[in-house]
């Protein structure tokens, strides 16, 4: 009989050598950079057009998101239906999304349909007509969706905590109310489109088992458009105006059985030397299933289905967030335990076994994440959009392998002090 009490030997993931699969960079005639990762076995690919057209650049709330949404709702040649039908007929998925700095169009398709699809994506970028009627439908449906979301404590908590951290006027902190959607006019959307898409700044990411002529095709359809490189010397500055009050307690639904808890503080962006080390500290604290917050608050106390901490994914001013939905009657106890865990990290160095487990887990996750073309281009994209290079990836890996328990304790003393955190409970 095999002895089951003895674990099989393992190869420590910290000892693995990991290489980030390469990414090719090309520049189209108009200066647009194209980053591509050619790997995988399926004859399929993803192309992602990233425009410098996030809500950072809008003068009026909801304009950037509305413009992004309407990109595929009509050109001078095709109706919204015809555009959708064209992509779907070819088995393709065309999605769009709007973030703070950037706004995107993403195409997933089989390689053999690419020639039918690229010209239409170019049409959306140059010739969207942003019909009044489509805007009216968008506004109506966005407002309706908002009324449902506002009944959810986690939705309300999510937007308020961002507003506390950055201020309601900041792109990272602002959120839309019904009247903001009402205020968007076709002129607003049209002007935004003209400036930030048709004559905007763009960068392209492509990944998959790439067709041989992809670059030539991108050059053909996008290389002579009046687009410019995404890189810019200066950009609009939005001052951060955090809330004065640190603690808030809101009853959104008097009959609510759970509380959405958000505890957050400002934190530097990826360029700060503490960032990679705090990635490790965060994992240990609340970054995965084996973290301290999960072990204590879910697996020991059963206060919640899940609790996580994470570093916010912003280009400029970052943040560090703890997030959970906990039973209403144990919400205060949950908050107390979060602070207890901070205290423990400040007071005692993490033991080597736990630190090694965290290191191995993180490396294993990175290894698994470099498995497919879409994940690999995702890593490159983060670096490109944050003005980082490969050294960021290798430095992060080295930090996971080497950061010491003492350094993590020092970082805990520096960053994990309850008085620096905003605390929000929404029931």
């Amino acid at each position: 009989m095999v002895n089951r009490t003895i674990a099989p030997p393992i190869k420590e993931p910290v000892d693995f050598s990991i290489a980030l699969p390469g990414c090719q960079k090309n520049i189209l005639s108009n200066g647009i950079e194209v980053y591509s990762v050619d790997m995988g076995s399926e004859e399929a690919l993803m192309i992602n057009w990233v425009f410098v057209a996030g809500n950072w650049y809008e003068d009026k709330k909801a304009v950037a998101a509305a413009t992004n949404f309407l990109l595929k709702n009509g050109t001078s040649k095709r109706t919204a239906f015809e555009i959708n039908e064209h992509f779907e007929y070819h088995g393709a998925y065309l999605s769009r999304s709007c973030y703070s700095e950037t706004s995107e169009i993403t195409l997933h398709c089989l390689n053999r349909h690419i020639n039918e699809l690229l010209p239409v994506v170019a049409e959306l970028v140059t010739d969207a007509v942003l019909p009044e009627e489509e805007l009216a439908i968008y506004k109506q449906n966005a407002k309706q969706r908002l009324t449902v979301s506002l009944q959810k404590c986690e939705f309300v908590a999510g937007r308020l905590i961002d507003a506390y951290l950055y201020g309601e006027e900041h792109p990272y902190g602002k959120y839309n109310n019904a009247e903001d959607y009402d205020g968007v006019s076709r002129e607003d959307v049209s002007a935004f489109y003209d400036k930030f898409y048709r004559n905007g700044r763009c960068v392209i990411f492509a990944a998959g088992k790439l067709p041989a002529n992809l670059l030539a095709d991108l050059e053909k359809h996008f290389g002579s458009l009046p687009l410019r490189t995404h890189r810019q010397d200066s950009m609009i500055v939005h001052p951060v105006q955090p809330a004065m009050q640190k603690k808030s307690h809101i009853i959104n639904d008097a009959a609510g059985v759970q509380a959405a808890i958000r505890i957050a503080r400002p934190f530097p962006n990826r360029h700060h030397p503490d960032f990679p080390k705090v990635m490790v500290l965060n994992s240990l604290f609340g970054g995965f299933f084996g973290s301290r917050l999960m072990a204590n608050i879910r697996e020991d106390k059963g206060y919640t289905y899940g609790i996580y901490s994470y570093l916010l994914n912003h280009v400029h001013d970052g943040g560090w967030m703890i997030s959970t939905e906990a039973g209403r009657d144990v919400s205060e106890a949950t908050i107390t335990e979060v602070y207890n865990e901070m205290e423990l990290l400040r007071d005692e160095p993490v033991d080597e076994e736990e630190l090694l487990m965290t290191r191995n887990y993180m490396i294993g996750t990175i290894l698994g994440d470099l498995d497919g073309p879409f994940q690999v281009i995702g890593r490159w994209k983060t670096m490109v959009l944050n003005n980082l290079d490969e050294s960021y990836f290798y430095n992060s890996l080295e930090t996971i392998r080497k950061v010491s328990a003492e350094e993590l304790q020092e970082l805990s003393k520096k960053y994990l002090n309850p008085e620096d955190f905003y605390e929000l409970v929404v029931i």
Binding site: A7, L367, G368
Partner: protein, 412 residues
């Protein structure tokens, strides 16, 4: 075509190996032939609660997560009305760690009272988070009960009510374990950067001495064909009226399943689908509408659900949905629509196949349905569907006597 090898241990454990040298990872997927449909009507939610307990320590290994994380692995699990599935992904060099962990919790759990006590609470919070604290969170509890007067699909995986979870005892846990979590009721799939011969040796080493257990024979109540329309009205504190309609469809391996799948694409798949174009864009009756099915192993449900534009009357909205359904029954679909949905199916399969995790999971599911090779042959059945099939099948299932309708009204 994906390649795999299949063998069965002497204790009845079915093993499938799928080599993919392009990844540095290995995936260990173990699927148990038990889901919420196998529960006692007075103890619903148990299969899912049990899934949580599988992480609470096994007979020789106090903690499942720590050694796995030490080996660079991560894992998760899910429970459906049909099956319970556990999966681990880790660097291929450390494959044995996953087999060691999975085999010990198949041998026996630790049956720890504290773990049960904590996970009862965790699952209650999960229940609240997803179903109690949410607008429209009770919809599927009501719809399932209406659509299935007899079959255990009448309750949700999370359970019928919190008390069923709160009342679970350690004795229930033990009985459930030894009834369902035995090698004869399980399928193990190992995928990724592995060699079949080596997997065979390791699987023999860790799994072969586990007692086979008794094959679970499923005896669950049949759902008789529905003979009259069913309707229900609900009023709740939600901001918008909503309409839900479901119809019974065929089981997973019947021809009708594939036809139903394509019907949901025509009706609700994407911005050029019929319901979206007609009811959201042209008639502006709904702000949101979907058509999908449950993917059940047994006779499942095809659903249409939508939120009404504020001010639109429920009867007008429902009439418009009915008209679209009638149009489908009368005219079927165009050749262009058929090509579209087949192209969509082809590309969604290609994207799904990119992940070794998804491939191993699908292999386990197909083996559970009867044969892992369905992975390769099942997709052909979508491409064989004709316009005539869609016309005939829509006439069959979209029969008013097969319909269940829930009108969900806003109090506001």
């Amino acid at each position: 075509m994906i390649q795999f090898e299949k063998f069965t241990l002497s204790n009845g454990l079915r093993v499938v190996v799928h080599e993919d040298p392009s990844t540095p990872m290995a995936v260990v997927n173990i699927m148990y032939d038990v889901g919420a449909r196998d529960e006692d009507p007075g103890k619903t939610g148990f299969a899912h609660l049990f899934e949580h307990l599988m992480f609470g320590g096994s007979i020789n290994i106090e903690d499942f997560e720590t050694p796995l994380q030490m080996a660079g692995g991560e894992n998760n699990a899910y429970t459906s009305n049909d099956v319970t599935n556990y999966y681990v992904q880790l660097p291929a060099e450390n494959l044995e760690t996953a087999l060691w962990l999975e085999s010990d919790r198949l041998l026996s759990l630790a049956f720890d009272e504290k773990s049960l006590e904590v996970q009862r609470k965790v699952v209650c919070e999960e229940f609240k988070e997803h179903y109690i604290n949410k607008p429209y969170g009770d919809v599927w509890f009501k719809l399932r009960e209406m659509a299935y007067p007899n079959h255990p699909y009448r309750w949700m995986t999370i359970g019928k009510e919190l008390s069923h979870i709160e009342n679970a005892t350690l004795e229930d846990v033990k009985q459930f374990f030894f009834k369902h979590y035995r090698p004869v009721n399980a399928i193990l799939v190992v995928g990724g950067n592995v060699k079949t011969a080596e997997v065979k040796t390791l699987v023999e080493k860790w799994f072969a001495d586990i007692p086979a257990g008794e094959k679970y024979e499923r005896h669950i109540p049949e759902e008789l064909p529905q003979t009259a329309p069913r309707r229900m009205e609900v009023k709740a504190d939600v901001p918008l009226d909503a309409l839900y309609k479901v119809w019974h469809m065929d089981d997973r391996l019947d021809h009708g399943y594939y036809v139903a799948d394509l019907i949901t694409e025509v009706m609700g798949g994407g911005g050029s689908s019929r319901l979206f174009q007609t009811l959201v864009k042209e008639k502006k009756l709904f702000s949101h509408i979907e058509c999908y099915h449950f993917g059940s192993v047994g006779r499942g449900l095809l659903a249409i659900e939508g939120k009404l534009v504020k001010g639109v009357k429920m009867e007008d909205a429902e009439k418009a949905v009915d008209e679209e359904v009638e149009k489908l029954k009368l005219e079927g679909i165009t050749e262009k629509e058929l090509t579209k949905i087949k192209n969509k199916t082809e590309s969604s399969i290609a994207f799904e196949d990119m992940s070794v995790m998804t491939r191993t999971n699908n292999l386990a599911f197909y083996e559970l349905l009867g044969d892992a090779n369905l992975f390769n042959t099942d997709r052909e059945k979508y491409f064989a569907v004709t316009r005539e099939d869609i016309l005939q099948y829509s006439r069959k299932i979209f029969d008013v006597n097969n319909s269940n309708t829930l009108c969900y009204y806003s109090n506001n």
